[in-house]
């Protein structure tokens, strides 16, 4: 029986983008790629999302191999979690996209660069496993 992972307040706290997260993807040849991202977004208890601004190696890998390993850190308790997830889809409209867009725009506009940084899509991932480190 699979017990679905429960996203606690603490874990949500780690999804605020206070402490950058790390993701690991892997291409078709099996070469792992490690990258930093500013925030993993909480969607619901079974899904998270990443923002897609620039096309990069990680995105390329996901398209070849939709498996993702993410590490998030709680800024309050310093607890780390490792999440295994699977890429589901990219959204270019809707509530999640709007929320993420808004955040991006808010920061970018502080430097007058709101036209430069645009959210290409909100990429949704299904949580397969959640592990405390």
């Amino acid at each position: 029986m699979q017990i679905m992972p429960v996203i606690t307040e603490d874990i949500k706290g780690a999804m605020q983008g206070i402490i950058p997260s790390t993701i690991v993807t892997c291409d078709a040849e099996g070469v792992p790629n490690v990258a930093y991202i500013s925030q993993v977004y909480y969607v619901d208890d079974e899904h998270v999302a990443l923002s897609h601004q620039f096309f990069n190696k990680s995105i390329r890998n996901i398209h070849e191999n939709p498996q993702l390993s993410v590490c998030i850190v709680s800024p309050e308790t310093c607890q780390m979690w490792r999440i295994d997830c699977k890429y589901l889809r990219s959204e270019t409209e809707g509530k999640l996209y709007e929320e993420m867009s808004g955040q991006l725009e808010a920061i970018a506009s502080m430097m007058g660069m709101e036209n430069v940084f645009k959210l290409k899509s909100a990429d949704v991932y299904k949580i397969l496993k959640l592990e405390k480190i």
Partner: protein
């Protein structure tokens, strides 16, 4: 693997949560009732912010309202050394501006890091000076929530809460702030409507006051004016076209002259003040009598009263009125003299002459000084007749034209016909004694 473990500690945590929720509802209720208790917008907004601090430890917050153009303006703030009221945020700039633009809640922690992260990108063309656009608020906020205040779907303003701490805003914090923000939006709306009503009310009051002032002024002016110019003339003049003001008109009128006999010797017995008092008493009493008969006093010249009947307002029975007026004046004189004798030991004696005929009336003069004048032969004759009374005190002499019209009303004695300058024939005059019967 994170498991869901139902144990005592979990229950305790849940209970804690429930207790907290209840407390929050209580606090919110209190805040809302405070908010609703006043329509003074400034007071309410500042109260909201103070309570965000008091109950939820949100130490730095501000409310901005949509102003003219593309700007939000700070109207209330809490927890900033410089109140910052009036500071502007352009819509679309920063967290507050973006929240306003997108009408979306924006909650963000570790703002600084994100900025750095963004600036780290090299291939992107950096802004000329890497300085972040200056916005009101904490110099270096670590986390912030901006909530748009909406009325239906329209943006009214933004509520912003900032913190120096990395991340103090959780989802439930956002919910609470959102609730309060909604209340604030309603209150702002109400206050705006109230202010509008008040404004309109004041405007109407203002207009009313101006109107009544104006009316008052007009009335005063008219009253004052009437003192110098008989009401009938004023009103007629007001009705006339400006250019016709100087045109002459011809009327059939009765003319009455009333002179005080031997005024100078009498006045020498009195002080100047007394003279004026005597004259004014005389004038006002005579005026009453004249008014009753719709006579128009053309002039008070020293001790002479010059009255016309039948112009500018035409009268059918102007001859009658003139004579009745003369009789009334003599009667009134008796009353005045009684008083004057008692008070000052003097009496006034007059002579009255009345004649009727055509006259030319008009506003004589020019733009700056006009007087309503009555001229013509009739006037001269009336004056001449009046002068004949000098030998008989308090007598009324009328011309034949008058007599023919009034002899059924009054007793009169014929006098010797007299010569009048400019006339070939002698003029018949009659002395009016009193009313018949």
């Amino acid at each position: 693997m994170e498991d869901v473990i139902l144990d005592h500690s979990s229950f305790d945590r849940l209970n804690e949560k429930l207790a907290r929720k209840n407390k929050e509802i209580e606090i919110l209720g209190e805040i809302f009732s405070q908010i609703r208790s006043s329509l003074d917008l400034d007071f309410v907004l500042n109260k909201i912010l103070a309570q965000l601090d008091q109950y939820f430890s949100f130490h730095h917050s501000m409310i901005l309202l949509l102003g003219k153009g593309n700007f939000l303006r700070v109207v209330a703030s809490h927890g900033y050394p410089d109140k910052g009221v009036g500071a502007k945020v352009e819509i679309g700039k920063g967290i507050i501006g973006t929240s306003a633009k997108r009408k979306q809640i924006i909650r963000m922690g570790n703002i600084n890091m994100r900025l750095q992260y963004m600036l780290a990108g090299e291939q992107v063309e950096k802004p000329e000076n890497e300085i972040i656009i200056k916005l009101p608020g904490l110099h270096n906020p670590k986390s912030q929530v901006a909530i748009p205040l909406l009325k239906q779907d329209e943006l009214i303003g933004v509520l912003s809460v900032e913190s120096d701490g990395m991340n103090i805003f959780k989802e439930e914090d956002e919910q609470i702030i959102n609730l309060i923000a909604n209340q604030a939006a309603i209150v702002i709306q109400q206050a705006a409507m109230y202010a509008e009503e008040k404004q309109r009310f004041h405007e109407i009051e203002d207009i009313n006051k101006k109107l009544s002032d104006l009316t008052m002024t007009q009335q005063n002016t008219l009253s004052l004016f009437i003192k110098y110019v008989p009401e009938a003339i004023v009103k007629k003049t007001l009705r006339e076209r400006p250019d016709s003001m100087f045109e002459g008109e011809q009327h059939e009128v009765a003319v009455l002259f009333c002179d005080i006999r031997d005024f100078t010797p009498m006045s020498e017995k009195l002080t100047p003040n007394q003279v004026v008092t005597v004259l004014n008493t005389y004038y006002s009493r005579m005026n009453e009598v004249i008014r009753v008969q719709s006579g128009i006093i053309n002039q008070f010249v020293g001790d002479e009263i010059f009255v016309i009947f039948g112009a500018p307002v035409p009268l059918v029975d102007f001859e009658e009125r003139a004579v009745l007026c003369a009789l009334g004046m003599i009667e009134q004189l008796k009353v005045i003299n009684k008083e004057l004798q008692e008070q000052l030991g003097v009496s006034i004696h007059v002579g009255i002459g009345v004649h009727a005929g055509p006259v030319v009336t008009g506003n004589l003069g020019c733009q700056d000084k006009i007087s309503y004048s009555v001229t013509g032969d009739t006037v001269n004759t009336a004056k001449r007749i009046e002068s004949l009374t000098k030998d008989k005190l308090d007598s009324i002499l009328v011309s034949n034209e008058i007599y023919l019209k009034i002899n059924h009303l009054v007793e009169a004695n014929e006098w010797e016909p007299v010569e009048v300058k400019g006339k070939h024939e002698k003029v018949k005059v009659w002395e009016v004694i009193g009313c018949k019967g």
